[in-house]
Symmetry: C2
Subunit: 289 residues, 2 copies
């Protein structure tokens, strides 16, 4: 009976191997699928930020407009890399882990089959034992039972070897796949992070080279309406009196005219810049024109 | 009236500046807060994966156990950096953007105050106009109304200058803060990604140096129970007959005994390794003993 017991303990090792694989591969699969989904959510949020940065850029003066557009473009680039990361995680990490479900089911069926063969061997052994106790003189019956035991044992032995081989292959594949899947995970993450460092370095340069003073000059000019259209100056002479305090804000009279002119100019020359829905790349070159 | 009109157009520029800042800073704030939250969710998922990898490591043979533990430790390190990223995004990006709410409210209140002063100027001008038409000869009344207009205009002019200065400061601060906040965002992201590249490079080495063959040898030994305890061999002689096929699996008889012995040995020597809840660092050295 010790062979049967040893087989029983061996089958327990096999079952543990498969049960563990099922449990942990299942958890790895669902956790990495969740990790991939959360990464996609992060990309979505950053995409929305890119959209808002672009819209905002269109409301700013040329200096900040160019800075925000270029920054938004870099941020969009990082999201493109993140999208590639998501797709690669799905293909090379989550999918192979999902395939394990079918693989494990098959192995489990094989173990079940073996257990039935093993049960039959025990049944035949018990039958023989009973016969030996009940009718120790019935040589023919005992001989028949011994043949049945022998046949059942041959079956059990053969199945054991098959199962051993299968579990060996299963374990080897499992270990190989684990190494492969997590190496792929690490490679995908590493490539993404390296690309992100590269793009953010460029984004940092963009933000660093932003010229605040130049931007403020534009803003002040817009506020005071001094855009160099000196031909509009004579308007000042129509002011009630230079002594009246509001004459000091005489320049403001030009603001209305100036801003109307700018509106006209922009509606013909730079209309694309005013439309936040317009294609980003097309706009990107407008400020340099 | 053209001065009043120009002031009106100027106040519109100011209002647009503040309204735009309010709109976009609000959106940047909520999007970056969401981005930070999604990053924290990603960290949570990866932390769960670390936990499962560690649990799984404890069910594996020494080779895979060490590999998975070291890999899990590196993955945990990346999450520590992600946690630092989350904290820094909250402190240096989301919080300053939130502060803008109060800042904008204050500026809006100032503009409202100016508009009231402006309204008063218009009221006084209208009053004067009416008097001039109705009672052009009432010099005293007209003189009084002119004084009121002048006083209202002085108020409006002074308030305009104050407002201009405030908006100038507001715009300067806004542009400076935008540059600072997004530079900080980029720096925080860059530092995180650079650290991640570093840690994943180490993780890749860990997975690459995993010895599959050594692991399989351990597994096969466990399956067949050949751990070199040859003193158990005499059991083989108690087998029914070498001719009976199940004698071929005689080695399996040792499996039970062997696995019982191993259980005893491990319960004294390596009990820590069998307990998945045991402290990781303490266990990390056990396989080398």
């Amino acid at each position: 009976m010790s062979i049967v017991l040893s087989r029983d303990s061996q089958v327990r090792v096999m079952e543990n191997t498969v049960t563990n694989a099922e449990k942990y591969f299942g958890q790895f699969c669902s956790l990495l699928a969740a990790y991939t989904r959360k990464t996609a959510r992060l990309r979505d949020k950053a995409d929305q930020l890119v959209k808002q940065l672009t819209d905002f850029a269109n409301t700013e003066n040329p200096e900040m407009r160019a800075t925000m557009r270029n920054f938004a473009e870099d941020l969009a680039k990082v999201q493109d890399y993140r999208q590639a990361e998501v797709e690669r995680l799905e293909t090379k990490v989550v999918s192979p882990l999902k395939l394990y479900g079918a693989h494990i089911k098959q192995t489990r069926a094989e173990i079940k089959k073996f257990k039935q063969v093993q049960k039959n061997e025990i049944k035949q052994l018990e039958k023989l034992e009973k016969l030996r106790q009940k009718s120790p003189s019935d040589r023919q019956m005992i001989s028949q039972a011994e043949t049945s035991v022998q046949r059942a044992s041959v079956d059990a032995s053969r199945t054991t070897h098959q199962l051993e081989e299968m579990i060996d292959t299963f374990q080897k594949q499992k270990l190989k796949d684990l190494q492969k899947i997590f190496s792929d995970f690490v490679t995908i993450e590493m490539v993404f992070h390296a690309k992100a460092v590269e793009v953010y370095s460029s984004a940092f340069q963009i933000l660093e080279s932003y010229d605040l003073e130049r931007d403020l000059e534009d803003f002040r000019a817009k506020m005071h309406g001094v855009y160099g259209h000196y031909d509009a100056r004579p308007l000042k002479d129509t002011m009630p009196s230079p002594a009246v305090p509001w004459a000091l804000t005489g320049q403001n009279a030009q603001t209305t005219i100036r801003s109307q002119r700018r509106d006209e100019e922009e509606s013909t020359e730079h209309s694309a810049e005013e439309d936040p829905v317009e294609d980003l790349r097309g706009q990107g070159q407008a400020p340099q024109q």
